[in-house]
Amino acid sequence: MEAFIGHVMTKQEQVKAIFIEEAGEIIEKLDIDIIRFEENCSDFSLLNEIFRGVHTLKGNANAFNFTRLGEFVHHFEDVLDYYRSTQENIEEYNLELFVGSVDVIKEVMICELDVIDTLPQSYHVCLEKIKNLISIKKNIPVCEVEQKESVSELNDLALEFGLSCVEQQQNFINRSIKDAQEMQSEGFNLYKIDLILDTDCYKRGFDYLLFLNMLAQKAILLESFFNMQGIIEIDNFKSDENYIGKVFIVVLTSVSTSEVEEIFEFLFDDEYEINLLEPVVIEVKKEEFVKEVVKSSVKVAKAAPQTNMLNVMSSKSTIRIDTLKLDELFDSVGELVIAQNFIAQNEKVSSIEDESINRAIETLSKITKKIQDRVMSLRMVAIKDTFDKMRRVVRDTSKKTGKEVHLIVEGEDTEIDKTMIDSLSDPLIHIIRNAIDHGLEFDADERLKAGKSTDGAVTLKAFHKSGSIVISVSDDGRGINKEKVLAKAIERGVISGDENLTDSQIFALIIQPGFSTTENVSDLSGRGVGLDVVKTSIEKLRGKIEIDSKEGEGTTLSMVLPLTLAIIDGMLVRTAGEIYIIPTLSIVESFRPEKEIVNVFKEKGEFVSLRGQYIPIMRLSEVFNLNTKRIEPWEGILVCVETEGGRIAILVDELVSRQQVVIKTLGKALSILKEISGGAILGNGDIALILNVEELRPLVKVSHV
């Protein structure tokens, strides 16, 4: 997609971009569905779904001359078609082949997009296996399977862009049939009629429209597709001769087959073909039955008054919007909020004693809030798709480690900012691999000895907590051995050994760069790199990681993330007359200290003693060299924040308020100030800087104290 951004796309590029996006979605879904199917390989409706995805991918791939991808999916489709039509049990090694085929599709897609000539070895191996399987199942020699594919079918579709007329029309017809099948209820028959009238049909008094009109009398859906390929140029064209070679009709009607046949009785037998299509049978689970009955009765009720209402096309309820446009919209709404705040908080405006003006400002405020909420919700998507992808990760890691694992997913409907979703996959993969590879016991025997079931469990959970989103990965494995972690940390020089660390501080050591307690480095984890990457990725999203563990019972690693990247929940504080914003996610507590608990250590600075801990005090006015009268800590407010290096207490003059602010990036000149992560425009038009607490360095290194 990126290749198309930055210049105005031609129509061809637009179509191709849409294809690439759609193909990506199909492949992502295949990846998820194939794992689901592996878990329940008797679910042939799911196999049908997979088949449809592969079929669409084939059409699209060939349309854009991605012939290598087209060839592969063509054969894969054949195999899937065989199993879905025969409903034969699928052998385990063939299931493995299916999963592997989806991997190959992913790789080949990259090769096609990046125009890489060399295909991965797995392409040829997998394709060979598929061909052999078709040959065995269909009892035909492999060479015949080869021959079938060599038909120019694959290449001739690659026209300028899009599909050929025939393929495009076939797609339309298939879609029409599918729509009709979805609408079909008891008492209605679905027909596909092929109508081929000869050149002199007009002279015989026939016209395709005549038959369409007769069919329309009792149809609730009637769609026809005119094949215009045979139409010649005007020089030789004669209007009284028919050049429309074929018309495909899809009709959903209450009339019987014999009644439909009556409509065409004056035509020759070879001029029409009527096919009664079987309704789609959907298996309904018991608990869903009542719901389905209600749905279908609604369907019938809807269908009844539509007897004369034709052209029922399933209208799309969603549209695709470029995320850049959404971002622009969001920025504009941010400006609107600022402007609205400016009016609401403007002293001159508020001094106007006019009820109608006050009411108008109040209404403006409510509407602005509503717009802001709605625009925000546009960026939110359920985390389900990301969680679904993790099934594959669990499956693959389970196979590689030889550990039986089952994945439990909770809260997959939790919504999260789209921008964050894209950055979450990699951290989640690392954490899950780590949980299986190191979190779970070495083998089933070890689990049995610990009084657990042989299968390990990994729980993936998403939920809201205090205005943040938490995504956690728990395992029911060994738990973290604190002594081992401490010993390793001392050995690596991460800590000196004199510190009095809390459990969570000890657990946090495992995500320090280069830290790993495992003796064996596998290709999955153990290098001490993975969790460090996770930490960095989560911090980029302005989130943090929390670890909780009980030895012998398991470990939970939680990623605490802000609801969105565009807005921050912040505490507005004032120091030396300036307003600063501290992200509330980092704040532990704020208080005015007693004089007795404030201590000054020579060359080490000021500390506040809080519940047995000495927390370094940082004067915000000194961080930014603000010219102000020096106050004592007990005259101001200490805002205690949690940082990677430990807690620090920020001394400010006063707390102003807590509010959601729209984050604005600062220019290049200010970007060198590491202590600042961005800015925000306040209601009165003033600009406040947002603190990056991780970069506030006290005089002494706190190092988990």
Partner: protein
């Protein structure tokens, strides 16, 4: 049927005979026409009408026929009719 500069406006509800007449009319004039607008007030009476438009488009691809390019006509009388006007 109306001619306005290089834009020709025709009615969709031509009978078979009218389509034949129209074909005779347009054949020698196709070079001078840039756009054919179709008024969709009435009902389509003959499939030859669409076929003729497709033939014109095929003869002169730069000819603009917005009606044809929609590739869809919906009516109570015939349901949804789809066609493709490109190869």
């Amino acid at each position: 049927m109306e001619f306005d500069g290089d834009v020709l406006t025709i009615d969709m509800s031509m009978s078979m005979e009218e389509v034949t007449e129209f074909e005779k009319f347009i054949r020698p004039r196709i070079d001078y026409i840039k756009t054919i607008e179709v008024e969709e007030d009435g009902a389509l009476k003959s499939s030859a009408f669409i076929a003729l438009l497709v033939s014109l488009k095929r003869t002169k691809p730069e000819l603009k026929i917005p009606f044809l390019e929609k590739e869809l006509l919906t009516s109570k009388k015939y349901g949804s009719i789809h066609w493709t006007c490109h190869d």
